[in-house]
């Protein structure tokens, strides 16, 4: 780890002011579970850390319009186990509990979860070229070992994936990210928050360097009756997703009246597919319908060699997750605890 100075402001204005002084080399720190990990590897080398933990942003509260506001500093554990999240947004509860470990979830914050960086092994390895870490040096994963890499939305400059589970559920639910900067505030719809790599793979998202996430707001509709978060990985717990699927349905008898579908582990951002959702809405909740939606999602998917299997895996996972959401069988509840291998 490089040396750095440290400040612990008590309010948002002061935090934003501190950050603005040397905006590029100063970093906010929340749970520290991603930033400190990367600093130990010298991938991140901030010269000053602004500790956010004293800011009054750890509340989870209902807003007048029925939406639920998750403070940026609420921990992943407190969020997953919050009674309102458990009863109204069980999809989010499942996604969070499918990620990391109890210890990490006790530290990791909701804001930090959005901003965690890719787990691409070359990104972590200073000895190899990486356009995300050092723009212009090349991408070692293309033509290299790329089992965990993207099959959708990648570019010739970067094929990394966003590793979060929580964000896949937030994408499906259509959350909004609330942000403060020195001269005001703005709201970013979840789908516009993370970026595809294009020719700027060093940018993971559309937050500008001086901005602070203050909360993540969940719309009132939580799809609490029919949902599934299915996470497939190399071991059944404490591992990042190879593929994950957040599926949520609204049913009128056998007919689908509303649908949400988002995938993790497949792209540079949590991958919500509204065209596939449109293929579900108005249709009967049958395997045929689910297969058509799955085919739509992987239309144009491209393997990179070691990750070719993910295209078929994604299709099957989508069908299974949608089935689980429609039937709400016992299986849904064991997803978090006992993911069987694909």
């Amino acid at each position: 780890m490089n040396s750095f100075t440290y400040a612990r402001p008590d309010d948002i204005t002061e935090a934003l002011r501190e950050k603005s002084i040397q905006v590029e080399t100063t970093k906010f720190i929340a749970g520290g579970t991603n930033l400190l990990d990367l600093m130990k590897e010298n991938v991140e080398r901030p010269t000053r850390l602004i500790d956010l933990n004293r800011l009054p942003l750890s509340q989870i509260e209902e807003l007048p319009d029925g939406s639920l506001r998750l403070g940026a500093l609420a921990t992943n554990a407190d969020t997953a186990y919050h009674p309102e999240v458990q009863s109204r947004y069980p999809l989010l509860n499942q996604a969070i509990l499918a990620g990391a470990s109890p210890q990490l979830r006790n530290m990791a914050t909701d804001g930090g979860n959005l901003l965690q960086r890719t787990r691409c092994y070359y990104f972590y390895d200073l000895a190899t070229p990486c356009n995300k870490r050092e723009p212009g040096t090349g991408c070692s994963a293309i033509g290299g070992y790329n089992r965990i890499h993207a099959i959708l939305g990648a570019s010739a400059e970067c094929i990394a994936t966003h590793p979060s589970d929580m964000c896949v559920a937030l994408a499906a639910l259509g959350a909004t990210v609330q942000v403060s900067h020195p001269t005001g505030e703005r709201s970013i719809p979840f789908e516009d928050f993370h970026r595809l790599p294009g020719n700027t793979p060093h940018l993971d998202n559309n937050l500008t360097p001086g901005e602070l996430i203050t909360s993540i707001d969940l719309p009132a509709k939580g799809f609490e009756k029919n949902f599934s978060y299915l996470k497939l990985r190399d071991r059944s717990s404490y591992a990042f997703a190879l593929i994950s699927v957040a599926a949520a349905l609204e049913l009128d008898g056998d007919r689908i009246t509303d649908a949400r579908l988002a995938l993790g582990g497949v792209a540079h951002k949590p991958w919500r597919d509204q065209e596939a959702e449109a293929l579900l809405i108005g249709q009967p909740a049958t395997s045929d319908t689910f297969r058509r939606a799955a085919a739509k999602v992987v239309e144009g998917a491209q393997g990179q060699g070691s990750n070719d299997f993910k295209i078929e895996l994604a299709k099957r996972a989508i069908v299974r997750a949608l089935k689980q959401a429609a039937e709400m069988s016992e299986e849904v509840n064991v997803n978090v605890f006992q993911n069987s291998n694909p």
């Binding site: 470990s101 109890p102 006790n106 530290m107």
Partner: protein, 194 residues
């Protein structure tokens, strides 16, 4: 364009950022010390406070050997800075029991032979204590899942699980006794939390 400034570098030692003072309550004792800002809580415990019960396995949040309790909640002490925990109440393995008066989990780990080399054990026990404090695990499958943040290279998992299950059983915390299989003996108590 830029002016080249010839600096006699050898004569200017790099200035280190000042150390920061930290106050922690560790195992019910107040402790004051100063550290460089980049000192992790794990390194502060081991190197500055001589509390070497907490182990460093991976130093990257991947093994759980460094697990301690902060205000009763388990965390990985390798991924937090000591300065970030100023004012916190910390319990390490040294604070859970004494050799003469072991905590129920410590005693159960011995009774169930729940370790071989012992390197992961302090983290396992602190994590299990955190699990009991949280009260989310009610079945064996849930204990396994919610202990997955602690790896054991010796593979003592079955005995670790049976040690934890025994303590939970004594506390009446197990919901589904049918699932209880790891330790051989079946718990006698009926679930009280159904």
């Amino acid at each position: 364009m830029s002016t080249v400034i010839q600096k006699p570098l050898d004569h200017q030692p790099p200035s280190l950022p000042p150390t920061q003072s930290v106050r922690l309550t560790i195992n019910s004792q107040e402790s004051h010390f100063t550290v460089a800002p980049w000192t992790t809580l794990l390194d502060a415990l081991r190197e500055h406070l001589d509390l070497t019960g907490t182990k460093k396995g991976c130093d990257h949040g991947q093994c759980g050997a460094c697990t301690v309790l902060i205000d009763g909640k388990r965390i990985n002490s390798c991924l937090t800075l000591a300065v970030m925990r100023d004012g916190a109440d910390i319990t390490t393995i040294e604070g859970l029991g004494t050799p003469e008066n072991l905590s129920p989990l410590q005693q159960a780990f011995i009774d169930h032979d729940a370790f071989q080399c012992g390197y992961c054990t302090p983290g396992q026990i602190c994590s299990a204590q955190g699990l009991l404090n949280e009260g989310k695990a009610k079945t064996e499958a849930e204990v396994r899942e919610l202990m997955s943040g602690n790896l054991c290279r010796c593979g003592a998992y079955p005995n670790i699980l049976s040690a934890i299950m025994e303590v939970m059983d004594k506390d009446g915390l197990i919901m589904d006794t049918k699932e209880w299989s790891a330790g051989g003996a079946k718990p006698e108590m009926d679930p009280i939390n159904s």
